[in-house]
Amino acid sequence: MKNEYLPYKVTIASIQKESFDTNTYKVVFDDEKTRDSFDYRQGQFAEISILGVGEAPISITSSPSRKGYLEFSIRAAGSLTNKIHEMKVGDSLYVRGPYGNSFPYEETKGKNIYFIAGGIGLPPLRSLINMTMDNRSDFGHIKILYGSKTPDELCFKQELDEWKKVENTEVWLIVDKPCDGWGCSIGVVTELWKDTDIHPKNAVAFVCGPPIMIKFVVQKLTQSGFKDKDIIMTLERYMKCGIGKCGHCNVGEKFVCVDGPVFTYEEIKKIPSREKVI
């Protein structure tokens, strides 16, 4: 029987600053066997820890189509994540996983895709975005709609520029509080509906961000004619074990860590509203 709770040592290979509170960490397993056997799918997460400080679930933001390393974009939110932000290239972390279900991939081939993210919601989607970019001809038109409070808080600025240049791909950015020289839209993500066509025909929408943002985006998508099953999102819930045991992420009869974190709006609707999943 495998001990799912045992983490494996990784070394930080590079650190990329995304915004004032978020860094992307590229890590590599010290043990070669673990490196080769860590097979993950787009949308899954891992439990990351510093021994003696604690553990937290973090989405794997690298793409399974790019091998040999893992990437995590981590926002300094509490005791563990702040400690991680003090670390340098060459320092060690511990990782176990991968856990959870994943974004549908094969089923979305041939379709038009909307990626709609708010703030720290882009990292979980980035894994899937890069997978579609690496297999671009398998998909129809792609639109990435991304919003944050300030321009500084937008993650993956360089990649956003690169995705923009890919054929048949659009990137729409919006911020609440612009800075000097901001050339894109101003407002919340749903304001982008005014700027670009959002059309349900042969399309799926992937939505990721804070609960309040998801709520309004889902409303807009539904009004635009998207079916509940074509709206796909990830839920965040306080988690401890990541493997369906500790109970913290249990909503309705679902464990977000095992049955999720990816759910369709169709599934979300079955969860009692008082659970405030979105």
Binding site: L51, G52, E55, P210, R237, C241, H248, F255, E275, K276
Partner: protein
């Protein structure tokens, strides 16, 4: 195998022998007067003293025996700068004197820890265990036991290796498995065949025992109601007004399995541990952003009842409540599952 019997005065000697071979857990009265499962020591004098504390009679075990396999706090692994060392417990265990409802709770937890990804800590602890249940001729928690309503007692029907039934100055012994039979063969000096009329006697003890259960509720109707869409918000809110969210019901519940994980560190050395946690605590779902989906008290009450009576049932086909009555008897403000069931099935307010 035929029904067996063992003289009650021989049980102490049997336990004394078994303690040499097994890690033996048996209900024992502690200095404060509470009966809890305790391990019989192997050393002779200590063992003698411990055997005096054994209590198989009508007293109730305050904390459910789930703690034998799922301790209140347990080490998962220790670590230092160089390595991680996992801590797995696999002792050969004899659980002697567990009540039928609690056995249901243990079997429920077994299935839970096997589902999805396996939980190595729990599953290693149950790897080699022998379970001897003891039927309840009278309800140990007179005001709270409601096992006949849920069909979980007063006698066990399956899942035990041996079951004892109090028949006066001896116990009738039902054999439930090959392991149970081997146990009897190993200690054959203590057991004898029961007489031909004893099966009849067992039946009559059982029907008297059923009669003795005072608290009766319509359990099946409650499961039906919970399965449907009936809005019970008002009930949850009212119970939530009274509940002090101490978590006593959850800690004592045989089928509750939630835990928290934390690290303890001194210098370069440390341990990662887990301890019981509960969905009735406010911090249980609080995310690092401060967002807490179950910030309002009543939503935690709703969660607890729905988990036990709705979701456990839809996922496993059996209710998560095994009708032991501990939540009621441990509650400082007199809230409990049997009362909740009574309330939703009869529309009578009782909490």
């Amino acid at each position: 195998m035929k029904l067996k019997k063992i003289l009650q005065k021989d049980v102490e000697k049997l336990l004394g022998e078994a303690a040499k071979k097994w890690q033996t857990y048996v209900p024992s009265k502690n200095d404060e007067g509470d009966t809890l499962f305790a391990i019989l020591p192997k050393e002779k004098d200590e063992l003698e003293k411990a055997l005096q504390r054994v209590n198989l009679k009508d007293d109730w075990v305050a904390i459910s025996p789930k703690e034998i396999f799922f301790p209140q706090v347990e080490n998962m692994f220790s670590f230092d700068k160089e390595r991680i060392t996992e801590e797995i417990e696999t002792s050969k265990k004899l659980i002697f004197g567990i009540r039928p409802c609690d056995l249901k709770g243990v079997l429920f937890a077994d299935e839970f820890f096997k589902r999805n990804l396996e939980d190595i800590y729990y599953l290693s602890r149950i790897e080699d265990r022998l379970i001897v249940t003891i039927g309840c001729n009278t309800p140990p928690r007179k005001e709270a036991c409601f096992c006949t309503s849920a069909n979980t007692g007063p006698f066990a029907k399956e899942g035990f290796d041996l079951e004892l039934v109090d028949a006066g100055n001896y116990y009738l012994v039902e054999v439930g498995s090959v392991k149970g039979e081997e146990f009897i063969n190993l200690y054959s000096a203590f057991f004898e065949d029961a007489g031909d009329d004893e099966a009849e006697k067992l039946n009559s003890i059982e029907s008297d025992a059923k009669e003795a259960i005072n608290v009766k509720v319509d359990f099946d109707k409650a499961l039906e109601i919970m399965k449907g869409d009936k809005d019970l918000t008002e009930n949850y809110k009212r119970i939530g007004e009274r509940c002090i969210y101490c978590g006593g019901c959850v800690y004592t519940c045989p089928s509750c399995t939630c835990f928290n994980v934390f690290d303890d560190k001194l210098g370069d050395n440390g341990v990662r541990r887990r301890n019981w946690d509960t969905c009735v605590f406010r911090g249980y779902t609080r995310e690092a952003s401060g967002h807490n989906p179950r910030d309002e008290k009543w939503t935690r009450t709703a969660r607890r009842y729905e988990h036990k009576l709705k979701y456990d049932y839809s996922v496993t086909g059996t209710s998560g409540c095994i009708a032991c009555g501990r939540c009621l008897s441990s509650c400082p403000v007199n809230i409990g599952m049997s009362k909740f069931i009574e309330e939703i099935t009869t529309n009578k307010r009782n909490m």
